[in-house]
Symmetry: C2
Subunit: 362 residues, 2 copies
C-alpha cells in the first residue's frame, strides 16, 4: 500500500524517514539485544535516549537553563488541571484568552480551582480570529496569564510577535499544535506545554517546559503525579515514563535538527501555508474561514459553497490519497492540517487537486 497524504489534525502524519528508522531498529536497538519498548527506564541505554532527547529539544527551542523540560502523560486535557493546581497558588485567580474549544476547556477546568478572568475572546464569530490583547484589561494580581498559541480546530495562531507584555505575570502557552513549527522566545513564558501527537510523535506523551521558580507550590489537593516538581526533581523518571514515545519524539527532534532547526522548519511551514492560502485567496469556489492576519501555519479550514460540494470534495480527495480533510464538526467544511511532517509535495499535490476540482465543479 502506498502511503497517503494524511491531513489529520492529530494524531497526524509523521516523517517517513523517522518511521523507517524506528521500524529498522524496532525489534533490536543498537547492541542492546532488545526493543526500546523492552528497556528498563533505569538502564544506561534508556538514559542516553531520554537525556539525549531532552538535550536536543532544549537546543531546538533554545530553552534557557532556568527551565525544566518534562516528559509527561495525559495530554493537554491533563494540563488544563495541572496548570491551575500548580500555579494558582498566590491569589487564586488567573487571566485566560478564549480563542477556541481548547481554551474553553482549560477555562472550565481552571474554574474548579480558582477564579478565571477572560481577558479576550473571539467566540462571537466562532473563533475565526485572534482578539486584541489589551494589557489594560489584564489583572496584575493574576497568578498566570493563559493562552492557546495555535487553535487546531479554528485555524488561528498567536505568533511570538503577539505575545503580550504581562508585567511579570507568568504566561502559560498551550503549544500542542505548533511546537517546533514556529519560533517562540521561551523566556517570555512561565510554562508551555504540548501533546506530542501533532508535531512530535505518538499520542500519549506530553511535553511541559516550566520555569523552575514556578514549581514546588502546588495546592495541597494536587495528586503527586500532577505536580510538576515531582517530575522535575526526578528528570521525568519519577515513575515509568512513556518510554517508547519519548524515544520516537527524540528521533523527530533529530530530524528537525537535520533540516536546520525550528527557524528552517518555520520557513518551510510558511511556504507550505502560503501555497494553500494563496490558492484559497484566488479561488472562486473554495474559501478560507479565518481572518487573514490570524491564519495558522498548521491548520487551514476552508469551505465550498454547498454542503454537497464539501462532501463530494472530501470523498474524491480521499480516493486520490488526500485523507482526513473533513473539518471539525463545529466548523464544518474541510480542514487541512499541514504539520511539520507534511512534505511540501503533499501541499502542492493537494492544491493541484483542488484546482482540478474547481474546474470540474464551477
Amino acid at each position: 500500500m502506498n502511503r497517503v497524504f494524511n491531513f489529520s489534525a492529530g494524531p497526524s502524519m509523521l516523517p517517513l524517514e523517522v518511521l523507517e528508522k524506528a521500524q529498522k531498529e524496532f525489534v533490536s536497538y543498537g547492541t542492546t539485544g532488545m526493543s526500546v519498548m523492552e528497556m528498563s527506564h533505569r538502564s544506561k541505554a534508556y538514559e542516553e535516549i531520554i537525556f539525549g532527547a531532552e538535550a536536543n529539544l532544549r537546543e531546538l527551542m533554545a530553552v534557557p537553563d532556568n527551565y525544566s523540560i518534562l516528559f509527561l502523560q495525559g495530554g493537554g486535557s491533563t494540563q488544563f488541571a495541572m496548570v491551575p493546581l500548580n500555579l494558582m497558588n498566590k491569589n487564586n485567580k488567573a487571566d485566560y484568552v478564549k480563542t477556541g474549544q481548547w481554551s474553553k476547556k482549560a477555562i472550565s477546568e481552571a474554574q474548579k480551582y480558582g477564579k478565571v478572568n477572560v481577558v479576550a475572546s473571539s467566540e462571537d464569530t466562532v473563533f475565526n480570529y485572534i482578539p486584541t490583547l489589551d494589557p489594560s484589561k489584564f489583572d496584575k494580581e493574576a497568578d498566570y496569564f493563559y493562552m492557546t498559541l495555535n487553535n487546531t480546530i479554528y485555524g488561528t495562531h498567536i505568533p511570538d510577535s503577539l505575545i503580550p507584555n504581562t508585567n511579570g505575570v507568568p504566561i502559560v502557552g498551550d503549544m500542542s499544535s505548533n511546537i517546533l513549527a514556529e519560533r517562540y522566545d521561551i523566556s517570555k513564558f512561565g510554562l508551555v506545554f504540548a501533546g506530542a501527537q501533532k508535531n512530535l510523535g505518538p499520542a500519549g506523551l506530553t511535553i511541559a517546559i516550566v520555569r523552575n521558580d514556578l514549581m514546588g507550590n502546588a495546592m495541597d489537593i494536587t495528586p503527586t503525579m500532577l505536580k510538576y516538581d515531582t517530575h522535575a526533581k526526578e528528570k521525568s523518571l519519577y515513575n515509568t515514563p512513556p518510554t517508547y514515545s519519548i524515544y520516537f519524539a527524540g528521533l523527530v527532534f533529530e530530524w528537525v535538527k537535520s533540516l536546520g532547526g525550528v527557524d528552517a522548519m518555520q520557513k518551510i511551514n510558511e511556504e507550505k501555508a502560503s501555497i494553500l492560502y494563496d490558492f484559497l485567496d484566488n479561488s472562486k469556489l473554495f474559501k478560507g474561514t479565518v481572518v487573514k492576519k490570524d491564519r495558522s501555519l498548521m491548520n487551514a479550514p476552508f469551505i465550498l459553497p454547498a454542503e454537497e460540494l464539501n462532501a463530494k470534495f472530501i470523498k474524491e480527495a480521499s480516493a486520490k490519497g488526500f485523507v482526513n480533510l473533513k473539518g471539525h464538526r463545529t466548523v464544518g467544511g474541510m480542514r487541512a492540517s499541514i504539520y511539520n511532517a507534511m512534505p511540501i509535495e503533499g501541499v502542492k499535490a493537494l492544491v493541484e487537486f483542488m484546482g482540478k476540482f474547481e474546474l470540474e465543479n464551477k
Copy 2:
C-alpha cells in the same frame, strides 16, 4: 545483534512474534497507507483497533458486562490518586493491605484525601511474605479495600484464592505486574488496574477495569481527566488516548489468546516459576528471599552468600545474555522477572547457567 533474555522488572520483555508483527506493519498498516501512530483516534480504522482490543481483553479476563474497561495514562502512580479521588466518597475512609513499596505509595497518596486503615502489613520482614488477612480487622464502613496483587519488588503475590470476603466493601486490586498472567475472578473486585509495561505492552498505557456503579461520584476537586466516568462515557476516547500503545497491547491480547488464554498462560507461568524455584530450593549457594507459600509467579528475588558473589553473578550472567538480573536496591541481590513474554527456554537457560555458576563458585 541477537536478542537477549531480558529479566527486567518493567518495562520488560515483549513477545518476539508481536514485536515482529508490529515491525512489519509499522510504516503502513493494512490498506490505510499510514502508520497506526499517524491515525486519527476518531477514524474507523482506529476504532476497530481500540474496540477490538477492548473486546479481546474482556474475553481474556472474563470481565462481566457491568464493568467498563478503560485505556488510561499515568501508570499505577496516577491510580494511587484516582482510586481515593473517585471511590473515597461515602465515609471518606478505606482499608489498605501493606505488602510493599507500591502499596506504601498508594497509602500515602490516599492519606491526602481521607482516612487510611492499614489492616495488614508485612513490613516487619521487608515484605517477604503476604500477611494474614483477618476479616475481623476490616472496617465495614470503608469505602473500599485496597491490595497489591503482585509485589514486583519483593516477589510475593495474592492469588485469586486468597482474595478475602469483604462483605460488600469493593475491593481494589493493583494488578500491574500480574495482569493476564494468572486467573482472577473479576466479579470479586470493584476495580482493578495495571500499568502496561510488564505484561501488556509499552509503558504509557494504564488499564482500569471498573464496576459501573462505582463511577460518577468522584470528589469535586478531582481533575476531569482523573475521573473514571469521564473515560467510561467516551469509551476511552474523551481525549486522544495513547493510540499506538493500545494497538500494541491489542496485539499482545491476540497473542495470549493464541496460546490458549489466561488459564493456559498461568500454567506456563507456573511451570516457568517452578523450574526457577525448584532450582533455588535445591541449591546450596543460591537462596530465594520469599516465604515459599507466597512466592510470585512473575518476580523471583534471590541472593548469594556474599555481595561480591552477587556482583560476579550479575556480571557473568549479563555477558551470557541474561540481562537486568540486578535486584531492587531495597532487597539487594538478584531478581528474575519472568513475565508472560519470557519463554520457558529463557528460564531453563538461566537455571542451567546458575547451576554452572554454583559449580564454579562453591
